[in-house]
Symmetry: C2
Subunit: 279 residues, 2 copies
């Protein structure tokens, strides 16, 4: 497995493989890999001749008061996991390789980025869209893999890839969960044992919603309130948002007539956890 830190080395690697008519799959990550990432890697390995995994904690997608500095990192463990999987290449650039002096460009997506996490984390999706554009261009990927846990991120990426005519297929992969249902996340490491129990309130709230729907409830605000009450009943939870939106436009829904996305962001202790489900 190649471990590359320079953009030009990745370009050369990819160029050589493409010259042999090999297809390229990209799995962009911020490292500290968990089963969710490895599922993306599995899909890429199955679909493509060559799989490139990027490991880059992207400062541009963290707000000034967010956890960029403390975001968990374990490069050596990541490398051995990826080697075991049979990944062909890891791209792990330093920050100044991705954002050299005089860097001045951003990719901005209107609309989709203005609700949910975009509303709570200003600049976050610009940071995501910019770095993903760079990674897709650097790796010239035929396919790139993203988890549905970051549902809004997936929709934003699908949008700008289409809008900018980037020649990569974007693949969304279902959420991977622990045995008890908690969505796997690098930030789960922040949770104490007690908080771990409270963190289950997110996935458990899906049952609350399903029960209300089964009872015939169609008022999205009533459902939201019941979810808020449910999660707030757990210790150390602090709701960032509970939203019911259209799964395509991510726009607010008042009345439920069709399928919808329940999207959750909840602080449990200091960990900001997200989860979602389409009903």
């Amino acid at each position: 497995m190649k471990i590359l830190h320079k953009i030009k080395d990745v370009r050369n690697f990819v160029k050589e493989e493409k010259g042999k008519n090999k297809s390229i799959g990209l799995v962009p990550t911020m490292g500290f890999l968990h089963q969710g990432h490895l599922e993306l890697v599995n899909k890429s390995l199955a679909d493509n001749d060559i799989t490139v995994v990027s490991i880059f904690v992207n400062p541009a997608q963290f707000g000034p008061n967010e956890d960029f500095e403390s975001y968990p990192r374990d490069f050596n463990r990541d490398i051995s996991l990826l080697k075991e999987k049979g990944v062909d290449c890891v791209f792990a650039p330093p920050v100044d390789e991705m954002y050299p002096e005089n860097f001045a460009t951003k990719v901005v997506v209107r609309g989709l980025t203005e609700t949910l996490c975009g509303n709570k984390r200003p600049g976050h999706f610009e940071g995501v869209a910019t770095v993903v554009t760079k990674l897709l261009n650097i790796t010239d990927a035929d396919r790139a893999y993203f988890g549905k846990k970051d549902y809004q991120q997936l929709k934003v990426i699908e949008r700008f890839v289409k809008d900018l005519n980037i020649n990569t297929k974007i693949k969304g992969i279902p959420i991977v969960r622990e045995k008890d249902g908690l969505a796997v996340s690098s930030r789960n490491i922040y949770l104490s044992d007690d908080e771990r129990k409270s963190a289950l309130s997110l996935v458990k709230s899906f049952d609350v919603v399903q029960n209300l729907l089964d009872e015939g409830e169609r008022d999205a605000d009533v459902i939201r309130e019941r979810v808020i009450d449910f999660i707030s009943g757990f210790k150390n939870t602090n709701i960032d948002y509970v939203s019911i939106v259209d799964p395509e436009t991510l726009e607010y829904k008042g009345l439920i007539e069709d399928k919808f996305l329940l999207a959750l962001a909840v602080y449990v202790g200091k960990a900001r956890l997200i989860d979602n489900k389409i009903f």
Copy 2:
């Protein structure tokens, strides 16, 4: 010469040529071709196996009170000029092919876009950066050609292509001038005979600057004032800006110690003309 209107047809054409190891040159234009465009075409034909010329009057780079609707167009004449040159492919998409419903993305460059024309034409360079990103991705160009008359545009394009790691070499081509020195421009067609004479004030002001430099003048504001006075002495001129800036950062210069860019934008009648020279 192929004339294509659909993105997917261009992709297929380019893919086939690249499969034969052909290099691709792109000349993006808004049509109504003049000698300046044809010079870009000449360079592309010389450097590349395949030359694609795009003809697209890009609504996203015009302000609400600008000349999008009246911008001169002559598709048939453009086509015969390009056929004569030996161009391989013309890409002439309709607006809704480039900006379909729900289009929501823009490429934004900070700093460089905030002076000169960027200051006078809000959103202009976002429109340029977005459409050029699309065209580069659609054509997968090895090289793309832009005139130095639009000096700021060239700098903005160089910037975001580098920042987003787009794998295309950007080539800047010297300004083409009429015999009397007027920079060729599609908008020159707006000029009456009298205005045509006043339009020469832009290129003639370069001599004013050179004389001042020869006399030892180093105060950029003094030079600016003398250029403003000179151009204002011609009938029907209305100065949009006269700027002396650093040729790389496009930042204002007060004292001349090194090389600088004189950049001009002047309305002559209803035509907004630009010109520039590095001293």
